[in-house]
C-alpha cells in the first residue's frame, strides 16, 4: 500500500480518543531538561541547609510571614514549613516564572511553535496543555520542598506532636494533613503566578526576558504588600494571600484568609489564561 493509498483509505481524518500523550510530552520537556532539574535541586537544597545550620547553630533567625525557624529544634516537621515560608518569597516564584514563560515563548524562540501548530495542534488546546503542565510543575515544586523538608527535618530532629501557632497541640499525623493542605494552597497560588507567566509568554519570543519580568512582578507585589500606606491595594495583590497559609496552622483553622486567597488565585487564573487565549488565538506566528 502506498503512502497516498493509506491516506485515502482514511480520507476523512479521524481524531483518536483523548489521551495524555501531548501532556506527557510537555512534562517530559519540563522535568527532563537539565536546567530545570538543577533548579529543582536548588529548591531541595534549602531545607538541608536550613536543618544543618540550625542543628549546628542551635538557634533560629527570622523570615517573612509566620516564623517557623525557631520551632525547628522541637520538631523536624517545622523544617518543611520554614523551607516553604522562605522559598515562597523568591525561589518558588522564580521557578514557576521560568517554566511558565517558557511555554509559548520558548517554542517560539527556537521555532518549534510553527511546527506544533502545523501538526496541527489547535491553539486553545496548546494553551490548555501548556498551562496544565505549568500547574503540575507548581504542585511538584512546592511538594518537593514540603516533602523533602519533612524528610530532612525528621531525619535531623525527629518527629513528634506538632504545636500550632495558636498554642494547641495536634498529633504528628494530623500535622501531616495540615502540611498537605498548605502544599495545595501554595501550589494554587503559584499556579496563579503561572497564569501570568503564560500570558507574558504569548507576548514575547524571549523566554528569559519574560521570565525576569514575571519574577519582578511577584517581587514588586511582595514589596507593595509591605507598604502600609497603600493598604487598600493589598487584597488585590496576588502574593498578599500566600502567607495566609499560616492560618492552616491554627486551631480551629481560620478559613477567611484561605478562602480569600483561593478566590484571588482563581480570579488571577481566569483573567490571565483568558488574556493569553485572546492574545494567542489569532496571533500571526512568524517565528
Amino acid at each position: 500500500m502506498s503512502v497516498a493509498d493509506l491516506s485515502r483509505a482514511g480520507a476523512a481524518v479521524r481524531l483518536r480518543r483523548p489521551n495524555p500523550r501531548f501532556l506527557r510530552s510537555e512534562l517530559y520537556l519540563i522535568f527532563g531538561r537539565r536546567r530545570n532539574q538543577v533548579g529543582l535541586a536548588v529548591l531541595a537544597a534549602l531545607p538541608v541547609i536550613l536543618a544543618v545550620s540550625v542543628r549546628l547553630g542551635d538557634e533560629g533567625g527570622g523570615g517573612d510571614g509566620p516564623n517557623f525557624v525557631g520551632s525547628i529544634t522541637e520538631n523536624g516537621f517545622f523544617v518543611a514549613l520554614a523551607a516553604l515560608s522562605l522559598e515562597i518569597a523568591l525561589f518558588l516564584p522564580i521557578a514557576v516564572s521560568a517554566i511558565s514563560v517558557d511555554t509559548v515563548a520558548g517554542e517560539a524562540n527556537i521555532g518549534t511553535l510553527r511546527y506544533l501548530l502545523a501538526v496541527p495542534v489547535a491553539r486553545t488546546r496548546l494553551l490548555a496543555v501548556k498551562y496544565t503542565a505549568v500547574a503540575i510543575f507548581a504542585f511538584a515544586a512546592t511538594g518537593l520542598v514540603a516533602l523533602w523538608g519533612l524528610l530532612v527535618g525528621v531525619a535531623v530532629f525527629g518527629a513528634g506532636p506538632v504545636t500550632l501557632l495558636s498554642g494547641d497541640q495536634i498529633s504528628f499525623a494530623e500535622g501531616l494533613l495540615r502540611l498537605a493542605a498548605i502544599w495545595v494552597y501554595l501550589a494554587i497560588g503559584l499556579s496563579a503566578l503561572g497564569a501570568i507567566g503564560l500570558f507574558v509568554s504569548t507576548l514575547t519570543e524571549q523566554p528569559i526576558g519574560g521570565g525576569i519580568a514575571v519574577v519582578m512582578l511577584s517581587v514588586a507585589s511582595f514589596i507593595l504588600d509591605s507598604i502600609p500606606q497603600i493598604e487598600w491595594l493589598h487584597p488585590y495583590l496576588l502574593t498578599h494571600w500566600w502567607l495566609a497559609f499560616g492560618d492552616l496552622l491554627r486551631q480551629p483553622v481560620a478559613l477567611d484568609g484561605i478562602r480569600s486567597g483561593l478566590l484571588s488565585a482563581a480570579a488571577y487564573i481566569l483573567i490571565f489564561t483568558s488574556a493569553a487565549w485572546a492574545r494567542f488565538a489569532g496571533r500571526d506566528v512568524t517565528s
Binding site: 497516498a4 491516506s7 481524531l15 506527557r24 531538561r33 527556537i110 510553527r114 502545523a118 501538526v119 506566528v285
Partner: protein
C-alpha cells in the same frame, strides 16, 4: 474552487503595516503535481506558505487545502499535510527520535501504538537512522534538514508543502531528497516545493509558480511556460552591425549586437528565411542557431535582473 486542486487560493493577501508582503495571489496547484514555487528572497513565498498552513492570518482572500477551506478545516486537513517551513526547528536537547516522538504525541490523529515504527521508518527514509538517538544540538545543518523532512513524513500525507527542502544538503543529500520527492509524487502525493535551485525545478517539477514583489507573476505547467517563451536567433559573424541591420529589416525585435555576432527575437518568422536574407545581404554567416531561453532566463525576465532582495 475546483476539487482537483490540492492548493487553491483566491486573492490571498497579507499586509504588514502598509506593505503588502503577499498581494492578491491566486494559487492553483493541481492534485498529484510537483509544483515549483519560485521567487527571489523576500518575494513573499514564505509568508504565503505560512498563510497556507494557518500560521499567519491573511489580510484578505481565501484558500483551500485538499478541497477544505482554511483555516476552518485545519483540524481535518493539516494531518494530511506534511510541511517544512523556513528551515528545521527542534528542541536542541532532545534526540532526533525524541523530537519526532513529541510531534507525533501532539497529533490527535496519530495512532500511539505505531509511533515507534513510524518514527523509525521516517528516519530511515531520510537516511538518519544512525543518528536517531543523537541530540539535535549535535546535528549538522544537513542532518537537521533531513530530520525536518522526516517530521513531514511521520504520517501518510496527501500534500507536502516544502520550503527549500534541499537547503544545506550536500550533493548526495540533494539527490536523495530529489528522488524522495519524486517517489512521493509517484505515490500520488502533491508536492509544493519552494526553492531557489532552478535546476531542481527543471528536473522534478511539472508546474511552476513565480512570485515577485508579493505577486504571482506566472503560473503554468513547465512545458506551457516554455512554449510561451519566445526563441531567439543567434548569428555568428565578423560583421555584427550588418547582421543586426538585416535582422531589423526582417522585423525581428529586441536586436542586440555582440563582438562576434548579433541576436534577436525570432517571432513568427521561419529561421531558414533569416539565414537566406543574411546570405543575400552578403553577411558572412559563421554560425546560426535558434535558442529557447532556459528557465533561468525566463525567471530573470519575470523577476528582474537586480541583485537586491525584493523590498
Amino acid at each position: 474552487m475546483a476539487d482537483e486542486l490540492a492548493v487553491a487560493s483566491r486573492g490571498l493577501t497579507k499586509r504588514f503595516g502598509r506593505q503588502a508582503a503577499v498581494d492578491g495571489i491566486d494559487l492553483a496547484v493541481p492534485r498529484g503535481a510537483v509544483y515549483g514555487f519560485l521567487g527571489p528572497n523576500g518575494s513573499g513565498k514564505t509568508t504565503t506558505i505560512r498563510m497556507l498552513l494557518g500560521l499567519v492570518r491573511p489580510t484578505a482572500g481565501t484558500h483551500e487545502l485538499l478541497g477544505a477551506p482554511m483555516p476552518a478545516g485545519a483540524g481535518q486537513v493539516l494531518p494530511r499535510v506534511g510541511s517544512l517551513v523556513e528551515g528545521p526547528a527542534f528542541h536542541p536537547y532532545l534526540s532526533g527520535a525524541a523530537n519526532l516522538a513529541r510531534l507525533d504525541a501532539a497529533d490527535r490523529t496519530a495512532e500511539p501504538g505505531s509511533a515507534r515504527r513510524r518514527i523509525a521508518t521516517a528516519l530511515d527514509r531520510v537516511g538518519l537512522s544512525a543518528a536517531a538517538d543523537k541530540r539535535y544540538r549535535a546535528y549538522s545543518l544537513g542532518m537537521r534538514q533531513r530530520l525536518a523532512l522526516a517530521a513531514a513524513l511521520l504520517a501518510p500525507r496527501d500534500l507536502l508543502i516544502l520550503d527549500e527542502p534541499t537547503n544545506g544538503l550536500d550533493p548526495q543529500g540533494t539527490r536523495e531528497v530529489r528522488s524522495l520527492i519524486t517517489a512521493l509524487a509517484a505515490d500520488g502525493a502533491t508536492v509544493m516545493l519552494s526553492t531557489h535551485l532552478l535546476s531542481e525545478v527543471e528536473q522534478i517539477c511539472g508546474y511552476v509558480g513565480v512570485m515577485h514583489l508579493g505577486r504571482l507573476v506566472a503560473q503554468a505547467s513547465l512545458p506551457e511556460l516554455r512554449a510561451r517563451a519566445e526563441p531567439r536567433v543567434r548569428v555568428e559573424t565578423d560583421r555584427p552591425e550588418d547582421a543586426a541591420r538585416t535582422l531589423r529589416e526582417l522585423g525581428l525585435s529586441d536586436v542586440e549586437t555582440a563582438r562576434n555576432g548579433a541576436t534577436g527575437r525570432l517571432g513568427p518568422l521561419a529561421p531558414e528565411k533569416v539565414v537566406a536574407a543574411l546570405v543575400h545581404d552578403g553577411v558572412g554567416v559563421r554560425g546560426f542557431g535558434v535558442v529557447a531561453p532556459d528557465l533561468e532566463e525566463m525567471f530573470v525576465s519575470l523577476t528582474g535582473e537586480g541583485f537586491d532582495v525584493s523590498g
